[in-house]
């Protein structure tokens, strides 16, 4: 007689957007895992057609309220590439500063409000705060600094108004940056404490054969706001490096019936991983300062293949982003206003094809636009991180459930949900979600 067991999570909590999970176990083997993203599709690629290319940063920001800067910067990078415009060092530095703010905010949100409660045995951060108020306050302080950075550089934290194709409407003033600078010292302390806190968590073990993909900036920086190449492979330095322009031939997107997000497959590899684990595995040696010191002190491996340990890498990235923000502000203030040049470069309205990418907090984001003679979008393609990770998330859930079948349904369901939250999935992005059902029959 066949025995079937099913686990269903109809609404995945503590993720951004709407999704469900269904797992079916038959005769003690997991035979089906479906991460379904039922968040309604919003058709951005469709209605971008006919809009001015200069509108793409503002419009695509609205794909995701959690990582709008990732969209704004990737869109601007793509449109600038389509017209062969190089915005130069000052504008790139300011974008990187803005982006550091988004990493700090988004990572702190995920670490403290969405993910840590899983490891500490609480349903949510509010319950965690009832017992450990100072821990949650530390996370909120960090998160607030990230938001303040985005407000200073971008004008507001969600859907910033200052970035545009070509650069910024204006650079932040000397005073706006100088006021923030001392707060980054406090943030560096909080971020360091965060790494120690999460490194001490009771983290389940698992090792997955990941193939990583991340943006590879030619200047040797840790991947963040820009880059014209992608690096893929399984460890430091990667195995293959290809120009962004080859993304379409290297990666194909497949529509699956149970999801409103498209699955991504890398040519010759299949499913792959983007995000903190990928950036760290491929280019972690580009980390400098306290972030690198902490990783060494805490014996964080060069390649982290345990998805449950992503929270540690995310915390290290927060330390890096805080120190990078401080470095950029220090350099900016020392150089003085005359050194920066104009806040934006002219980008002609004309025909072209441009690829642009950036490393959203949860992974690689790629935009491609084809524009017509009038500078209107003729075709748009947007590949967000969560849809690239979706097949890998399902593979993780399959392995996690297979290895934990002795757990009762409630514990097993929780373990599967945590495996999804490891990815900090952004379902709003992926549909442009998550409910768990485990079917044991």
């Amino acid at each position: 007689m066949t025995s079937t067991r099913s686990i269903d999570v109809p609404v995945l909590a503590r993720v951004e957007g709407e999704g469900a999970l269904h797992v079916r176990v038959r005769d003690g083997r997991v035979d089906d895992v479906q991460l379904s993203i039922y968040e309604p599709p919003r058709f951005f690629e469709g209605f971008l057609v006919g809009r001015a290319a200069t509108e793409t940063p503002d419009i695509t920001a609205r794909i995701c309220g959690i990582c709008p800067v990732a969209y704004q910067v990737a869109a601007a990078n793509a449109v600038e590439a389509s017209q062969h415009v190089d915005v130069g060092e000052a504008i790139r530095a300011m974008r990187r500063l803005l982006y550091c703010g988004e990493w700090i905010e988004s990572h702190a949100l995920h670490i403290y409000l969405l993910h840590a409660p899983d490891f500490l045995g609480y349903p949510d951060a509010i319950a965690l705060a009832a017992d450990h108020r100072e821990v949650v306050q530390q996370g909120l302080r960090l998160k607030k600094i990230g938001n303040m950075l985005m407000e200073a550089v971008g004008g507001r934290a969600i859907h910033p108004v200052n970035p545009k194709v070509g650069g910024f409407y204006r650079f932040p003033t000397h005073d706006e940056l100088a006021e923030l600078r001392p707060l980054l010292d406090q943030a560096a302390d909080d971020a360091t404490q965060t790494v120690r806190l999460v490194a001490g968590l009771d983290i389940p073990t698992l090792s997955q054969p990941y193939h990583f993909v991340a943006l590879d900036p030619s200047n040797g920086d840790y991947p963040l706001e820009d880059g014209r190449h992608l690096l893929t492979g399984t460890d430091r330095g990667g195995r293959q490096r290809f120009p962004l322009e080859e993304f379409d031939t290297q990666v194909t997107e497949i529509q699956v019936e149970h999801s409103h997000a498209l699955h991504a497959h890398l040519d010759g590899v299949g499913s792959y991983l983007v995000g903190p684990l990928a950036r760290w595995a491929l280019m972690g040696d580009r980390m400098t300062g306290t972030a690198a010191d902490l990783a060494a002190e805490l014996d964080v491996p060069d390649v982290v293949t345990n998805p449950f340990a992503s929270i540690v890498v995310r915390a290290i990235e927060v330390v890096y982003a805080v120190e990078e923000a401080a470095r950029i502000i220090d350099g900016w203030l020392t150089a003085g206003p005359a050194a920066h040049g104009p806040a934006s470069m002219a980008v002609p309205a004309g025909a072209g094809i441009g690829y642009g990418a950036s490393e959203a907090p949860r992974g690689l984001l790629v935009h491609r636009y084809r524009t017509d003679e009038a500078g209107l979008v003729a075709e748009a393609r947007i590949v967000p991180p969560t849809s690239q990770n979706q097949a890998q998330i399902e593979a993780d859930v399959r392995d996690v459930v297979s290895g934990s079948l002795d757990l009762d349904d409630s514990a097993l369901t929780h373990r599967a949900e945590v495996a999804i939250r490891n990815y900090d999935p952004c379902i709003s992005c992926a549909t442009h979600a998550l409910t768990l059902t485990i079917d044991r029959g």
């Binding site: 599709p41 058709f43 309220g65 949100l109 607030k144 004008g155 934290a157 859907h159």
Partner: protein, 269 residues
């Protein structure tokens, strides 16, 4: 706030619901870093999947609804949310005006779906993105893409104090003058929707030397036609003016009507 909270002997319950949206407006709640833990002391968070898997049974004293209605399922679900809510307040441009996804309202949805999905037939969506008000009675509406988090706190405070929330009704121009900013339209000839857009953002864009792009939607007596005529006289094409009105509040009646008038100008020209 706490005194009022305990007047009825229990904390009021707060529920947060998501429809088609980017999650940014509900993130505004979690972005209240200085107030979040205090907020959780005075209201009981009863339904807020982005923050907690804990779900308490309704009815709920206050429901905050993010997102617009774009699918047959959601058109049914919003009635359940209304039935379970003592007060229902929409948060943001999607819930209040249909959001950026309402750009589908003037296009063919099948064509849009085909641009995104290889098998568009597998996607069950409505032809139009509609605000919550088109489906159920709402008690208040917060504007903005995204909302101003101060307004979210004000709505919760008003509930606790059993009063109506105080929300701005003037135009962005008033806020801009109050800040003492130089008018970007007059001084620099930059197209600006400030005269037709409701206040609430603090005149953010003019503060960055940029024209307002109307993310808080039309204000009560917006003269969209007069502004459109001015923009055309300054050299903007009908297409450009149409696009200016057709963004995050594209389906808000005043903006939708002006965008449509501009579209008619294009076809008759």
């Amino acid at each position: 706030m706490a005194a009022h909270a305990t007047k009825r002997g229990r904390r009021p319950t707060l529920a947060v619901w998501k429809f088609a949206s980017c999650d940014g407006c509900q993130l505004s709640i979690l972005d209240c870093e200085d107030e979040l833990l205090d907020l959780a002391d005075v209201v009981q968070i009863a339904h807020f999947p982005e923050a907690t898997p804990t779900v308490l049974r309704g009815p709920y004293d206050l429901s905050l609804v993010e997102g617009s209605v774009t699918t047959p399922d959601d058109a049914r679900r919003i009635h359940q949310v209304r039935a379970a809510s003592r007060r229902l307040v929409t948060i943001g441009a999607c819930a209040t005006a249909g959001g950026i996804q309402a750009l589908r309202n003037t296009r063919d949805v099948a064509t849009l779906a085909a641009a995104v999905y290889p098998q568009p037939d597998a996607i069950a969506v409505l032809d139009r993105s509609t605000p919550i008000r088109a489906h159920v009675t709402v008690d208040a509406e917060l504007r903005g893409c995204p909302v101003d988090k101060g307004q979210v706190i004000e709505v919760v405070a008003a509930l606790l104090q059993e009063r109506k929330p105080r929300l701005p009704s003037a135009s962005v121009c008033v806020e801009c003058k109050r800040r003492g900013l130089t008018c970007v339209a007059v001084a620099d000839g930059i197209p600006c929707l400030g005269p037709v857009t409701v206040a609430g953002c603090g005149a953010l864009c003019p503060g960055y030397g940029r024209g307002c792009y109307g993310c808080f939607g039309p204000y009560g007596s917006a003269n969209t036609g007069s502004l459109a005529a001015h923009l055309r006289a300054e050299g903007a094409s009908a297409e450009q003016v149409e696009r200016l009105y057709a963004t995050f509040n594209a389906a808000a009646p005043a903006f939708a009507a002006e965008a449509s008038r501009q579209r008619d100008t294009e076809t008759s020209a």
